[in-house]
Point group: D3
Chain length 315, copies 6
C-alpha cells in the first residue's frame, strides 16, 4: 500500500478488508486486542453458512469508524488493536477435531497475552475459546442470545451450537454463578431445555420479561451478576430480531431491535471483559447484507468495551 | 418414513413439510384442530402472490417447536393437531366461484367438528370461512390488520380482500358488536372508507393511537369486546411493519414489530377462539423469507390460543 | 390516457408512475407544490446508487393514497400538487458543475412560486436547493438524519453529501439558530466532526439521547427551534434504521423505526414549511424494495405538512 | 421538463419512464406505432405477477437507444412512435369482463389506425387484441414461446393464458395456416395438448428440433408460413431460457439464449407485421431485473420490425 | 385431501409438495421407482446449503408434468413412481457416521427392490448409495459433473464430496471401465488431481473438448462406455453453467447450458439404468430459485430414463 | 497467520481475501505480475457500483485454483504473482483529478517493472493505465467488450467509460492498427458512434457477425491484428451476456456465454501481453454473486496469458 498511510482515511470501499480496517498483524507482540475470524459452522443444527461470516463481517466493518459517538470511547486510543486473521479449521469434517484445532489456536493466543475478540462461525466455537480463556479459573459471562445454549446432547453429539455453555460450565472454565443470559426466546421442544442454566445458577432473562422490566433493569442485573471478576462477552446475532438479522442459522422473531442491542451493550461499560465473540452471522441467508453490517456494528461496541476494560487493567 | 417416528425430533430441513411438522391427516376423525392452506389470491387489489403463501409457511414452520416458552403452552398436549392439506380452488379465474369452492370445503370442515386454523391466501378467504364458522349464529372477532377490510365495492366487485368483514357482518355471520380491529393505518382514499366498521359497532383501534394507549390497554379492550362468546382470530401479516413482513400485497409502514405482535397475541389467552386465520403472506415479495417465517411464528401463537380454547371447551 | 380520469382510482400497478400518481405538469402555472426528482449521486462518499432513487420512489409511491388517516389531512384539498419531473443533471462528471445545474433549475422553480418537495439523489443536493429557497434570507430547518452533514472538506472537496448544511450556513441561506438536527448517530472519525453544528448554534439531538427524552420532547424541541419563520424540512432516509431502510449509502444501525419517524413528522404540523426533501434512497442496495416504499411513505407525510403550511399562508 | 428536449440524450436513470423514452402521447393523431401496457395477469395458471410487467419494462427500456446496430434500422426514422399508456383493466376480478375491457380499448386503438405493440400482462391478453387486429379478416402470426397456447378449457375456463390462440382461430381472427409457433417445449399433461395447433394447420417447431435444423432454417420456415399477408408478432418471454428470463409465470428450461432470440427476430425483416406483443414478464420473480431488461431488448427488436413494415406499407 | 384425486391436475402452487407431485408412499410394496431426498451436506469443502436441496427441489418440481414432450416418454405409464420421503441423517456432526446412516437406509431400499432416484445433498452421498446399488457387483456409471470427484484425502478425510467415485471404485462397487465422466472443468490444484480416473480406466471428457467433439459424439461415447450392463446415472447440478445453476457449492463457469444438458440426457435412452441421483443444489445461494427448478427439470429427465430402463427390464 | 503456510491449501471461505489468494506484497521487488484493484466508478454514464468491484472479485477469486485445467498453464510456476492492493483514488469527486491519481500510481508500477493486471472499477480507468503502459510507444490491444468505447464527449466530458480508447489512440499510447475490438453490440444513438474505431484502423468484430464467422476465425483475426508486438488485454465483463454477468453498468443482451469467453481467451496464447484489465463488475446489481465470480474466472485466464507472455519474454 504505497499511498496514504491510514486505511481509515480512505474511501470505505477500498483495500483488502480487515476487521474495522485495523492493521493486519502477523507479529503478535505489538497487539493488545486481537480480532480473529473463526470460519467454522460444523456445529449448526439447522441452516449452515456461518463459515462465511468472518469474511462478510470484515467487508462490512469498513463502515465502522474510530470513535463511538454515543460513549466517546475510541478503542484505538486505549489499546493496540489488530486483525490477526482467521483460526483456520483445516479438518472441518469432524466436529470434535475441529474444536481441537480451535483449542490449540487459542492456546497460543492466550499465551501471547492477547485479548481475543472473535467472529464466528457458529456458537459451538465459544467452548474451545472459553477452555483457553478460563484455563486458570472459571470466568463470568454476559451472554446475549435468543437461545441459552446450555442444551444437552443433540443429534448424537455432546458438542454443537446449542450446548457450548453447559459444557464450559461442566469443564470448569465458566462460572455459572457469574453468568447472565439475556434475550432467551422462541419455542422449545422440552420443558427442561434450559434446566442446566437454572440449576447451575445462571441468571436467565427471557425476552418476554423485558418489556415489563425495562432495559435499564436488565443492564443493572447484568452488572450485578458479572461483578468485578473477569468476564467474557458472547453475542449471538440471533439475539436481534430477524428483521434486523435475517442471516443467521436459527432465527427467532420477537428479538432486540438494533437500538436496544446497542443501548444494552453500552450499559455494560465498567465490566472487566477479558474476551468476547460475535457469532452466527450466516451470509447466504442475508440478501441485503444487513446482518453482516449489524454484526460489524455490534463488534465495534464490543471492541470499545474490551478496550475500556483493557485500559482499566493496565492503569 | 421408515426411520424415526417423531418428525419434530429430526433436523428441521428434512422431510416433506407440513404445517409445524404436524401429522398430515386424511382421516379427520382423529383431529381436533386442523391447519389448512388456502392458496388463493384472486381477491387482491394490488400485488399478487399470496397463493404461494401456504407452501412457504409450511416450509418455514419447520422451525417452530412443541412448547411456547413464553406462556408454557404446548398445543399438542391440549388437542389433536394436524395439517389436513389445502382447500384447493380448482376454478380460480372467477372470484365468486372460488369463494363458493371455499364455502363448500369449510362446510365439510365445520361439519366434521374441526377447529380450522387457515393460512392464506388473501384476506378475501375469511368471508367464506366465516360463513361456515358463523352459520349457527354470528361470531365475535379479534382482527389484527393494517386495514379494516370493511370496504365496499371495489373494481366492480362486492368481494375482494378489502371487504370480507363488511360482507360477513351483512350476511349475519359476524357480530360487529363483538368485533375489534387493531392496528389500522395507512392512507385512505375516502374519509368514509371504514365507516361500516364504526357504524356497525366494531371497535377500531388505529395504529397511531397505540403509542399513547400502550399494548396492555389494547389487550384489555380486546378481551372486553370479545367477551365470553365464540370468537374468530384473524391475523393479516400486514399488521406487522414491512421491515418485518415485506412479502405482502399491501404493505403499510408504521406497523407492529414482531415482539409487539407476539405480546398482543399472548395477551388474548382465555378468549373462546373457535377458529382463526393468518393471511396475506406473499412469497414472491419476500427475498429473505422473513415474512413466511414470521407468518409461521404468528401461526404457532394462534395454534396455542386455539388449543387452550379447545381444551377449555372440552373440560 | 383515454379511460378513467383519476389515476388514483385505478389499480396501483398501472400507468406511467408519477410521484403519488399526481398529475405530471409541464405548465407550472397551475401548480402550488411541485414534487421534483433530483437523480444525482455524485456527492456520495461510500455506496452510490441514489441516482436511481427518484424512479423507484415514483414507482413505490403509487401505493400512497389521498388522505392521511392519522391526521385527517388531504394535501390535494389544500394545494395544487403536481410532479414536474426531474431536475436532470446533464454534466454529472463534475460535482460543482452538477450543483450549478441544480442551482439554475431551482432558481426557475422558486421564481415560479412553487413549493418544492424534492426526492434525491444524495444529500449534497440540498445545498443548491437551499441556495434558492433561502436566497431572500436564511431559512430555518428541521433536519432528520443519522448524520449532521455539517462536515468539512472530504476527499479534497468542499462539497459532498456530508457537508451541505455547513456550506448552506456559511453561505447565509440557512439559519443555524433555527436549525434542529434529529437522530444523529454512528461512529465518527474526529471528535470535532459536527463541531460546526454546535458552534453555529444548531440544536443537535443525538439518537442515543432519545430513549430517555421521549419522542414528544423531541417534537416540542423541534417546534421551539423552528418557531414561526419559514422552515425547510430535510429527511435523509438513513435516519431510519437499516432494518427499515437498507437501501442507502451510509447505513447506521440504531435508527428510527418507521412508526417513530411517522410519529415525529406528524408532530411537526403547524410549522411554516416552505420546501422539503427526502434523500439517499439507493435502490441497488434495496432487494425488497422497502426503502423506496418507506421513502414514498415519508414523502407523503412531508407533502401533508407542506400542504398544510401552504394553506395556512394563503388563508 | 424545462431542460433539454430529447429525453434520449439525458442520463438513462432520469425522468418519468415511458417505453423506450418515447414521447407519451395523449393525442393519438400524431402516432403511427403505439406502445401500450396491459397490466393484467388474471389469466395465469401458475405464478402471477405479470401485472407488474409494463412498469418494469418501461423502466428497463430506458437502456434502449435509437438505432439497431445489427440491422441499421432506426424505427423513429420510419414511423411516429409513442407510448400511449396502459390499457387499464378496471374490473380485474372477472376474467371475461377484463378481456372485454381490453376488447373495447383496442377497438379504439385499431379504429384510430395505430399499429399496437403491447406489453403484458399474461398471454391471455393476445386474444382480445387479435379480435380487433383481425376483425376485418384473419391475420397470420409468428409466435415465439415455450408453449403453443392452443390448449382447451382449464380450471373451468375457456379463457386463460394457455389458450388464446385456439380461441383466436376459432373466432376467425387468426389464420392457423399462416401461423407458426417456435420454441415449444417443456412437459405436457396430455399427449393431445397442442393437437389444435396441428389439426388446424399451424406450423409448430419444437425447441428440441432446432439444434438439428439450425436457426436459419427456422427463420426461412417462418418467412414462408407468414408469407406476404398481414402478420402479428407475439413473443412470450418464456421462449427464452430461465437463465435469461427467470421472471415469468411458467418457466421451462432449455429455451433460447438472448443471442438466439435476437438473431431469430432480426431474420424476420420483410414480414408485413401489423401488430405485436411481448408478454409474461413477471417482476416479482426477477431479482436481478434481467427479465424486464431482456423484455425491453426484445421489444426494441419488435419495434424495428413493426416500423420497417409500417414504412413498407406507406411507401 | 378430500377434493380432486389427481394432484397433478390441480394448480401447481397447491398442496404439500412431493417430488413431481407423485404420491407419497409409506408402503414400498407398490413402488418401482422411489424418489428419495438425502438432506445432508456435511461433505462439502466450500459453500454449504445442499442440505436444503431436497425441499426446494420438491417445491419446484410441481412445475413438472406427466409426459416428456421431446421424447414422448411418460414415466408414470412405465413404472409405479413414488416419493418415499427423506433419508434423514440423524447424527449429522460426523461424516463417516452420516454415511453409515445412508448405507443402512439404502440397504433397505435395495432390498425392497426399489430403483432409487435420489436428490442431494452433496455428492458425498453417492458413495453410500453405490455401496448398496453395487453390492452384488460393480456397476457402470454415466457421471455428468464439473468435477471428476475421484480426488484423494482432503482436509484430513478420505470421504468428502470430491472423492466418492475413487472410494466407490476402490471398494469394488463401481466399475471404472464402464464409467464415463462428462463436463469436467475448472482449475485444479494438482496436475494429478484426477489421475485416479485416468489410471483406473474411466473415460473422462473435459468440457473444453466438447465444442470440437459435438454433443452427438459425447452421447455416442457414453453409450459405448456404459454398454449393456447395469449403470448408475449421477448428475451434479454444477455440470451446468452458473448462469443456469448459481445455487451450488462449487460453481465453475463454462458449463453446459440447460438445453445442452437436456439434449445430452435424452441421448442416453436405452442404457440399463438401475439408479441415479441429482445432487448439489444449494438453495441459500439461489436467489431466483432457478437452480432448484433446473434440478427438478433434470430429475424429470432422469426419471424418464429410469422408467424406460425399468420397463425394458420387466418386459 | 500462524497455521499452515499455503493459503491455497486452506478452505476457500477462510482468510483475508487477496486476488486468487496470492500473497499480498508491500515489497514490489519480489513481484513480476501485480494484481491491482482500482475501485473507481466516477466515469460511468448509467448504473454505478463498479467501485465495489475489486473487493467482491477478491472475495470470489478464492474459488480459483493453481492450474488451468484446459491449458495446463500454472501461472505461479511462470512468474512471481502478487496482489499489491488497491490504487486508491483519494479525490473521487473530480473525474480528471481521479484519472491523474491513477496516472501517478501506475507510473510507479511501470517504473518498478511490474506487469499490471488491474480490476476495475469502470472502463475509464484503462486510459490512465495505458498512458503508463504505452509511454515508450503505442501498444496493441485485444479488447473484448459490448461497447467499442471509442466515443466522443458525453455529458460534457471528454473522459468517461465510453471513450478511453479514443483518447488513448489520440494520445499516442494505443496503436489502433494493432487493436481489435470483439463482441460489440447493443443499440446506438448515432450511426457514427464508433467511427473513430473504423477510421483509426481498429478491427471491429460485431457480436452479430460471430455466429457466421465462428470463434476460431475470431481468434485467428485477433492473433493477426495483435501480431508480435506488446499488447494490452482489456476485458469488460459486459462482453458476456447479462444472464452470465447481470452486475454491470451497461448490460446488453446477446453477449458471449462464459464458455465462449473462456474459449476465446484461451485462444490468445502466444500474444506478447504486457498488461491487462478486467473491468465493470458492479456488485450492487449482482444478487447471485455470479458476475464477481465470472470476473474472477476471466481474471485467472488473463493471469495465465500474462504469465505465459512474461515467461516467454524472460527466457
Amino acid at each position: 500500500m504505497a499511498q496514504s498511510d491510514n486505511p481509515i482515511a480512505r474511501p470505505r470501499y477500498t483495500g483488502i478488508p480487515t476487521f474495522m480496517r485495523a492493521p493486519f498483524a502477523e507479529d503478535w507482540s505489538e497487539v493488545d486486542i486481537a480480532m480473529i475470524g473463526v470460519p467454522y459452522d460444523g456445529g449448526v443444527t439447522n441452516r449452515p453458512g456461518a463459515r462465511h461470516g468472518p469474511r462478510e463481517v470484515r467487508n462490512s466493518s469498513s463502515l465502522m469508524r474510530l470513535i463511538n459517538q454515543a460513549t466517546g470511547v475510541c478503542p484505538y486510543d486505549l489499546a493496540r488493536v489488530a486483525d490477526i486473521g482467521d483460526c483456520v479449521i483445516e479438518r472441518p469434517f469432524q466436529l470434535e477435531g475441529a474444536h481441537g484445532e480451535i483449542d490449540r489456536y487459542y492456546e497460543t493466543v492466550v499465551e501471547a497475552g492477547l485479548v481475543p475478540l472473535s467472529v464466528g462461525g457458529d456458537h459451538s466455537i465459544s467452548l474451545p475459546i472459553l477452555r483457553q480463556i478460563g484455563k486458570d479459573g472459571p470466568v463470568g459471562m454476559i451472554h446475549i442470545d435468543a437461545h441459552a445454549d446450555t442444551g444437552d446432547d443433540y443429534f448424537g453429539s455432546r458438542f454443537h451450537h446449542g450446548a457450548p455453555f453447559r459444557r464450559a460450565a461442566e469443564e470448569g472454565v465458566l462460572d455459572p454463578k457469574r453468568t447472565i443470559q439475556i434475550g432467551i426466546r422462541g419455542g422449545i421442544n422440552d420443558r427442561d431445555q434450559w434446566s442446566f442454566s437454572h440449576e447451575s445458577g445462571m441468571r436467565v432473562i427471557y425476552m418476554h420479561e423485558i418489556p415489563a422490566m425495562g432495559l435499564d433493569a436488565v443492564i443493572a442485573e447484568a452488572l450485578k451478576v458479572a461483578g468485578d471478576g473477569p468476564t467474557y462477552l458472547s453475542f449471538d446475532i440471533d439475539a436481534c430480531d430477524p428483521a434486523y438479522a435475517p442471516g443467521t442459522g436459527t432465527p427467532e422473531f420477537g428479538g432486540f431491535t438494533a437500538a436496544e442491542a446497542l443501548q444494552l451493550l453500552r450499559g455494560l461499560s465498567g465490566v472487566d471483559f477479558i474476551g468476547g465473540d460475535m457469532v452466527e452471522v450466516s451470509p447466504p441467508f442475508d440478501p441485503s447484507g444487513n446482518t453482516a453490517l449489524l454484526g460489524a456494528t455490534i463488534l465495534f461496541e464490543q471492541l470499545c468495551l474490551l478496550a475500556e476494560a483493557f485500559a482499566n487493567r493496565t492503569v
